[in-house]
């Protein structure tokens, strides 16, 4: 949204009471759900720092659960998230964690338990409802969720990056940013690509088919449908 817009000052429409501890927590929960790509059945939620101290007064528990259920930040149902979690047969266990000083005081760790496709992430709520995902599946990354983000783990082979960009551009999608780093121990690389549009489902298949590709996850824009313009 442009800096000059009236809707930056009057908005967002959100579940109270706190943009960082409630709205941000909803988005963190939803990020985990979107990375998982299905209805989670069993989830561990760990509150770090100020979340561990003030989660109750801010309703951060209901907020994360609402996010895990796929609710947006202005969804009335967040207030009754426990009820909807029960209906969805989603089991959530809340815990306290100390991630250490390297993590923002407003951090949450989420683990979605699943035999085939477990997901875990650590994300920070950095203010105003904005979040930054710091870790996915144990890999350090930096994703704001302001754009669609593709997360790839692949063998560190010559030419893989250009294959990735080639596949994406075949779908006529703009690449906004690309970061890649080695995971020396595994001999793999972790690449994150921010793109401008929601991709068609075939993109995932095409990326999966690249030689040496081990994991493809596509995270939609987290603020989708939450802004007026």
């Amino acid at each position: 949204m442009t800096d000059e817009s009236a809707f930056r000052i009057l908005g967002p429409i959100m579940t109270g009471p706190s943009s960082s501890h409630t709205a941000g927590a909803v988005r963190i929960g939803r990020a985990a759900r979107l990375l998982f790509g299905a209805d989670p059945q069993k989830v561990f939620v760990y509150f770090h720092g100020s979340f561990a101290e003030t989660w109750r007064g801010h309703g951060s528990d209901k907020a994360v659960i609402g996010g895990l259920l796929g609710f947006k930040t202005f969804d009335k149902r967040i207030k009754e998230a426990y009820k909807y979690a029960k209906k969805a047969k989603m089991d959530v266990i809340l815990k306290k964690i100390d991630l250490g000083h390297n993590y923002h005081p407003n951090s949450i760790k989420i683990e979605i338990i699943d035999e085939k496709n477990p997901v875990n992430l650590i994300a920070e709520s950095v203010g105003g409802g904005d979040i930054v995902i710091r870790e996915v599946l144990g890999y350090k990354i930096e994703i704001t969720g302001k754009n669609v983000t593709i997360i790839l783990r692949h063998q560190d082979l010559m030419g893989t990056l250009s294959k990735i960009t080639h596949v994406i551009s075949q779908f006529e999608i703009n690449i906004l940013s690309l970061q890649s780093k080695d995971l020396p121990r595994e001999g793999d690389a972790l690449t994150t690509v921010e793109i401008s549009l929601s991709p068609p489902a075939e993109l995932k298949t095409s990326l999966d088919n690249i030689e040496g590709m081990k994991m493809v996850r596509i995270l939609p824009r987290l603020t989708e449908g939450e802004e007026i313009f």
Binding site: A6, I9, M14, T15, A52, G57, D61
Partner: protein, 303 residues
């Protein structure tokens, strides 16, 4: 690009003989590149959520999870309905009750519109709703009032801040009061100059305001402050319509707010390390909440 001065908009309003709200609608149409109708519909959506928060807020009788708030808007409305003599007029008490109600609705996880923040969300809707009710204003006028208020918030954001953690509560409820004053003038049919002047009058009166929320929750002092500053904002609008001028013009007041915000110690900028938050009572609430929250996370207490 940011909007860091009211002056170009005041000039445009004067040259074209338009109200501030109208100028801001035209500006929004230009920057978003969509039709006027879509822009107005966007603001109508915002307004519908604001109205809902007003209606829900005054009905609340239950305490918030912290036990520090809840039920006060309802108390005021009940008081108002009694035949006893009141010290303030009915509309003044309604403004206070509605603003407080939104704050209570916010702390009970209701859906609100940040204006400019969640903690200060009560002021603009309460003033706009009550002024419009009193003047029998159309929805179109209400929407214009909201657009007029947005310029005030945008300039505060660009020239100073609209965050308690950066500049204290002057930047949150102070700004929301300034926005509400401008909206009230617009709805009453005042000029752009009068709207901005009303904002200057009330913002000056909040300079230096500490942000010292008890236990880090947006309840004390936030909720009742919404009520009291909403009343101030409305009086500032009347003062401006009466011709009372702020000696210091709006842009300068915001510069002062920025300077004061920078000088304020971080203990009173949302860290809850000073002021009301560290009084004996304030610390008591903090400790109780922390303990009960931790016990629950460790599975000792039921969630």
């Amino acid at each position: 690009m940011t909007i860091d001065s009211v002056l170009p908009f005041l000039k445009k309003a004067k040259d074209e003989n338009k109200s501030l709200g109208e100028i801001m609608i035209e500006h929004e149409v230009e920057i978003q590149g969509v039709s006027r109708k879509e822009i107005l519909n966007g603001m109508k959506k915002i307004w519908s959520y604001m109205v809902n928060s007003i209606k829900q807020g005054v009905k609340i009788t239950k305490e918030s999870p912290s036990g520090m708030s809840g039920g006060n808007a309802n108390k005021l409305m009940t008081y108002l309905s009694k035949k006893t003599k009141k010290l303030s007029s009915a509309s003044v008490l309604k403004i206070a009750a509605r603003a407080i109600g939104i704050g209570e609705f916010n702390s009970s996880m209701g859906v609100i519109v940040a204006a400019p923040t969640a903690g200060s969300a009560g002021v603009v809707p309460a003033v706009v709703y009550t002024v419009a009710e009193k003047l029998n204003a159309s929805e179109e006028m209400i929407i214009k009032g909201l657009f007029a208020s947005s310029l005030i918030g945008l300039v505060c954001d660009a020239r100073a801040s609209t965050s308690g953690s950066e500049h204290g509560c002057q930047a949150e409820i102070g700004v929301s009061a300034a926005m509400a004053a401008a909206a009230a003038v617009e709805i009453a049919g005042g000029t752009a100059e009068q709207a901005v002047n009303a904002a200057a009058l009330v913002l000056k009166n909040t300079l230096g305001l500490a942000c010292d929320p008890v236990a880090g929750l947006v309840e004390v002092p936030c909720i009742k402050r919404n009520g009291l500053l909403a009343v101030s904002a409305t009086v500032a609008a009347d003062m401006s319509l009466a011709g009372v001028q702020s000696v210091i013009p709006f842009d300068d007041v915001v510069t002062a707010m920025d300077e004061i915000g920078r000088m304020m110690p971080c203990e009173i900028k949302e860290t809850s390390e000073g002021g009301l938050a560290t009084t004996k009572t304030g610390l008591g609430y903090k400790l109780w909440l922390k303990r009960s929250g931790e016990r629950q996370l460790e599975g000792e207490d039921e969630l």
